[in-house]
Symmetry: C2
Subunit: 338 residues, 2 copies
């Protein structure tokens, strides 16, 4: 028994050739832009193709060329608008170049290699991920697949693995200086989950910046990487002690939660507390938050990733590009405390 075919098999070039009374290669040529076909032949083929509803399959092309024109993208949850924006920009950029987006959603950073195994089976030309590659051991497993991989905001580079990063540490320093300039003497750092290297760098930069101004180290709050996490952490802090005058959050989602927690306790932002975040998600610009933040410029990150992948010399990995985060100053840090 032959392998089970789908109930409605797609029309093949042979079907079209039969109907048009020509060879199968003629059909192929009629659909190939630069091929040598007489206009008459092309017309005959296209007519038969239209009658049957024929679409050339790219699958055999993948076998012949060894390139699928599909790029795998691995994301960890689109409930954070920043990741949704990254995916959005990336898919748009890929389509402009005639590439497809094979998307995988993974629950944890740990499942990255499992996802990559599957993507490798589909022979994706490259993989882009917002997830960090945790260990050097995981990296060598990925290197073994010999598929170009670009990570956003991961420190690590390796054969076949490149990195696009935001200048997290400098941004953290800048946040500290901004708050200090506004008169903040006592600041807090709302840290994300411990496994994010990028968030750690932002926190370190923030502490550096405070120290450079002769201020005390920040109160460090650990929280879940979400609106609720920011809300809960800020609420918990205020049970114990008076809130600091300045708050820097490892992302905007947490910052929005923190702001709402402060306001729920009757405090004003920026009247009583200045707040800054990171990512510049759309909600940061909403009038209810008007949040000062750092724009990671997702569009440029996507462009940089494709640039790395386009060039055979850099596609084999080991590259690192830094896209500077731009400070977006808004109302949440405009209150002047003196």
């Amino acid at each position: 028994m032959p392998p089970a075919r789908p109930p409605h098999p797609p029309v093949s070039s042979i079907d079209v050739a039969r109907l048009a009374g020509v060879s199968q290669s003629a059909v192929s040529r009629a659909f190939s832009p630069g091929a040598s076909v007489s206009p008459k032949m092309r017309a005959k083929v296209l007519e038969a193709a239209a009658a049957l509803g024929y679409r050339p399959s790219v699958i055999p092309r993948i076998m012949l060329s060894g390139r699928s024109r599909m790029i795998g993208i691995v994301v960890g949850g689109l409930d954070n608008p920043f990741y949704a924006a990254v995916l959005d920009h990336f898919a748009t950029a890929l389509q402009t170049r005639g590439l497809q987006t094979l998307m995988m959603r993974v629950p944890h950073a740990l499942s990255l290699d499992g996802a990559l195994d599957q993507l490798a089976g589909y022979r994706v030309d490259a993989v882009v991920t917002a997830l960090a590659v945790g260990s050097r051991q995981a990296a060598s497993a990925l290197s073994a697949l010999r598929i170009p991989i670009v990570c956003f905001n991961s420190r690590l580079t390796a054969p076949w693995i490149s990195t696009i990063r935001s200048n997290n540490r400098a941004a953290g320093r800048l946040a500290a200086e901004l708050l200090a300039d506004r008169g903040v003497r006592r600041a807090a750092w709302l840290a994300g989950p411990a496994d994010s290297a990028a968030a750690r760098e932002r926190g370190r930069g923030f502490a550096d910046g405070l120290a450079a101004r002769g201020l005390l180290p920040p109160i460090v709050l650990a929280a879940d990487d979400s609106y609720d996490g920011g809300y809960a952490a800020m609420g918990a802090l205020m049970h114990r002690e008076p809130p600091p005058a300045g708050l820097f959050c490892s992302n905007d989602l947490m910052a929005c939660g923190a702001i709402d927690a402060l306001r729920a306790r009757g405090l004003s932002v920026p009247g009583d507390v200045l707040v800054a975040g990171y990512d510049n998600i759309p909600q940061a610009a909403w009038h209810g938050y008007d949040l000062t933040t750092f724009d990671q410029q997702a569009e440029q990150m996507a462009a940089a990733a494709l640039e790395l992948l386009d060039d055979p010399a850099t596609a084999t990995g080991g590259q690192s590009r830094t896209i500077p985060a731009r400070l977006i100053e808004r109302g949440s840090t405009s209150g002047l405390i003196t």
Copy 2:
């Protein structure tokens, strides 16, 4: 000259067979779960495969089986958290079943057929889209592709095209009743873009519900389908006349904008104006908005779509399923106006 191959061709089963000194079919069997291979043979093959970094390609399997195990999903912009959530749930559901997500992002609903042409070339097993199929003419073009298509919130069904809908009209009525029960005598409807059939139904239901209570028809505000659209439309209304006591918005994003516009004018929600939205995006639950809304239950919509596609009898289209929207009552409609 043979066709240009990529600089680093993937390892094939023949390479593994050569290294292990076995036949190529033995390699295939070693990687097929239920095949008859001796443990010794399997071990030998797996060792050689690991040494070379071999991953079986699914591309030839697609050619033989006629099924790619890829589902195309066409979305129109992830800046709306609702669409991001739909995509998120869908990708998760697909992965649970071992299916891949081939994502396409299209600028306008008009480009749906262009996107489908490309997806057809990749021989996706089905297509799911949150975009509405505009005309019956467009539908017949899609039907010709003979690929199962599931549309969210489109009215139209056709051969190969099924629909998963929210009970928009009933929800609109319910919104009207809720506001009327709270003492609203004069209400407004913040309509989305004209091309959304779902939004139109919500508005019609809202008008129906107001009429059933003997109230005047709603003030209709046309706006862009976004936060800024809601903000601008609400702001413009207040330039002309006093705001209505109740507002129903065709989606949450616009509702958030409208709330911020009201507050920017010194009005309170829900103190002065009651507001309800649609979609139950995460931001609706944020404490700053606390927005009453209708949950479209994206997870169930995704499940229903897969159920339609799983059954060969329903995969060929013409089906319609309704997932009831659940009213989520929050603080934005809690003010009692008497």
